[in-house]
């Protein structure tokens, strides 16, 4: 058994014991001195659908950044897919991120390229052969309801359509985890629900989905696990929970 096999075995064991995402007493303090995450411990198992809610400054975005290894914890341990992210070397980060799909409120598409190129870009990064890209991209675009728009420039699309492109890009490499940071923040109610429906479908196919949101109606209606944060602390973690209104 080689070193890589041993590492994989250890990661699998870690995932079985602690879930696909595991934060153990994590603190994150920025250089300004204010703690963004304060003693957070949480476990998310494979295949779960989780909402993270809370006011601005509650630490939700910092949590996403920690999970993407954009930031490292000041103390405590962040495990994602069995890997201790503090031990991840800079050159290993791209490979790690390829297992995580990410969707943002502002879509973050490459606006100088068309829909097809935006989605294909994620496949090119993982060096998928050209013929597979030609097969996979139209298929995923059909899944998110954009089958006929692959030639369109992203700026020509509505907000809902742009978010679908972002979703297609996040999913085309079949990630284990999907992180969505305010995915409906710029969308009208109709489009918001369509995106949430897509996220639910994706979750039903086995992908772990973590959604950061402010949308009370969606959180209260979908009846999923809800983690509520306030000033960097998890103040509530409830199965089939609802939006706790601080006001």
């Amino acid at each position: 058994m080689g070193k890589k096999d041993l590492i994989k075995l250890r990661q699998d064991k870690m995932m079985n014991e602690n879930g696909i995402i595991f934060l153990d007493n994590v603190n994150k303090t920025y250089s300004t001195g204010s703690p963004a995450i304060n003693g957070v411990t949480l476990k998310i198992t494979q295949g779960e659908f989780v909402f993270v809610v809370g006011d601005s400054g509650s630490g939700k975005s910092t949590l996403i950044k920690l999970l993407l290894r954009e930031l490292t914890a000041t103390s405590g341990i962040v495990y994602v897919m069995g890997s201790d992210l503090a031990l991840l070397k800079h050159r290993s980060i791209p490979k790690f991120r390829r297992n995580i799909g990410v969707v943002f409120q502002d879509f973050r598409l490459l606006n100088d390229r068309n829909v097809y190129e935006n989605v294909a870009f994620a496949q090119r990064i993982v060096e998928t052969p050209g013929n597979e890209i030609q097969r996979n991209v139209p298929a995923i675009l059909a899944t998110v309801g954009l089958a006929g728009k692959y030639k369109a420039k992203t700026k020509q699309l509505s907000g809902g359509e742009q978010q679908r492109v972002a979703l297609a890009r996040a999913l085309v490499n079949r990630p284990s985890i999907l992180l969505a940071d305010e995915p409906t923040g710029n969308l009208d109610p109709k489009n918001s629900w369509e995106i949430m429906k897509l996220l639910e479908d994706i979750n039903e196919q086995g992908t772990t989905v973590l959604v950061v949101t402010h949308n009370k109606e969606i959180v209260n209606t979908m009846q999923k696990r809800v983690i509520t944060m306030k000033r960097g602390v998890v103040i509530n973690d409830q199965e089939k929970g609802g939006y706790i209104d601080e006001d």
Binding site: L68, E70, H90, R91, P94, K95, F96, R97, R98, I100, V102, R108, L109, L110, D112, F121, A122, R124, I125, V126, E127, P129, G130, R169, N173
Partner: protein
């Protein structure tokens, strides 16, 4: 890495040029303007130095010998002088050759009044220096040699030319240095700004899981292409202008072209081409490399 990935990054580098055409145009214009000024100044300085050098090359000292000197001793003196490092050329002029030259150049038909060679016994060496500033040292050395009677020279002119040469070297080195520094500053700033506005694009690539190479390669290639085009344009312009001026000066001002020796276009471009391309491509490469690196830690 797969060849297809490498090809993809190369294609993206070329496409980026057109995707960001305003940035590309602004960068190319900045690089072209800087290197055009640099090239023009270099061509002027190189010609000026060449003119002074040509004047220096015509500066010679003439060595005359004692009347009773033997041909063997004259040959020995010639060998000793030619071994000096500041000597570029030494020509023996016999009294017969000197008389023929005098008749042909100055006396003409009046020479018939002379029955014998009035310059008999006035054999000489005409010594050309590679470094005119060392003329006085050479004269002192030659005068100390037994058998040498007199040395003719133009010490004031030699000093003036030597002074001009040193002055041109210092001034041109200073101005070229400043021009290059300004070019490097302007070009790297343009490249930096152009890439900084695309920070978001780099962030997106990193979030999706692109390696540093995958993100950086198209930007670096784009920077190098901009540098290459930005350097090629002024080179082409200067080549055309220089050729035009050279042809016109020779045709219209033949007196000027007899007095002054202009460098051929190939000689100018022998150094200008590699320096301009090096500066353009080099700054394009380094500027994009360092700027992208700043945004890679996402």
């Amino acid at each position: 890495m797969k060849i297809s990935t490498l090809l993809y990054t190369i294609v993206q580098g070329f496409r980026n040029l057109f995707r960001n055409k305003w940035f590309s145009l602004a960068s190319i214009a900045t690089i072209s303007a800087c290197l055009f000024l640099f090239g023009i100044f270099y061509a002027i300085v190189a010609n000026f130095q060449n003119i002074v050098k040509s004047a220096e090359d015509t500066m010679a000292i003439t060595v005359f010998f004692e009347e009773d000197i033997t041909k063997e001793r004259i040959r020995e003196i010639g060998e000793l002088i030619s071994k000096r490092s500041e000597v570029s050329e030494i020509n023996y002029i016999s009294d017969e050759q000197a008389w023929e030259y005098l008749q042909a150049e100055y006396l003409g038909e009046y020479a018939e009044g002379f029955e014998e060679n009035p310059l008999a016994g006035l054999d000489s060496y005409e010594v050309t220096l590679s470094d005119v500033s060392r003329q006085s040292a050479l004269i002192t050395y030659v005068l100390s040699m037994p058998g040498v009677r007199k040395v003719n020279s133009q010490p004031e002119l030699a000093d003036i030319l030597s002074g001009i040469n040193v002055l041109i070297s210092y001034v041109s080195a200073g101005i070229i240095g400043i021009l290059l520094a300004v070019s490097i500053f302007l070009i790297s700033n343009t490249v930096t700004i152009g890439i900084s506005v695309r920070k978001e694009e780099i962030n997106i690539m990193k979030y999706i899981g692109a390696t540093d190479f995958f993100v950086r390669a198209p930007f670096v290639l784009e920077g190098m292409l901009i540098g290459l085009i930005g350097a090629a344009i002024p080179l082409g312009l200067i080549h055309g202008i220089y050729n035009y001026l050279l042809t016109n000066i020779v045709e219209r001002f033949s007196i000027l072209s007899q007095l002054l020796t202009f460098l051929p276009v190939d000689t100018i471009f022998q150094y200008l081409t590699p320096v301009s391309l090096g500066v353009g491509v080099g700054i394009g490469f380094l500027g994009s490399m360092t700027t992208v690196r700043k945004h890679l830690n996402v």
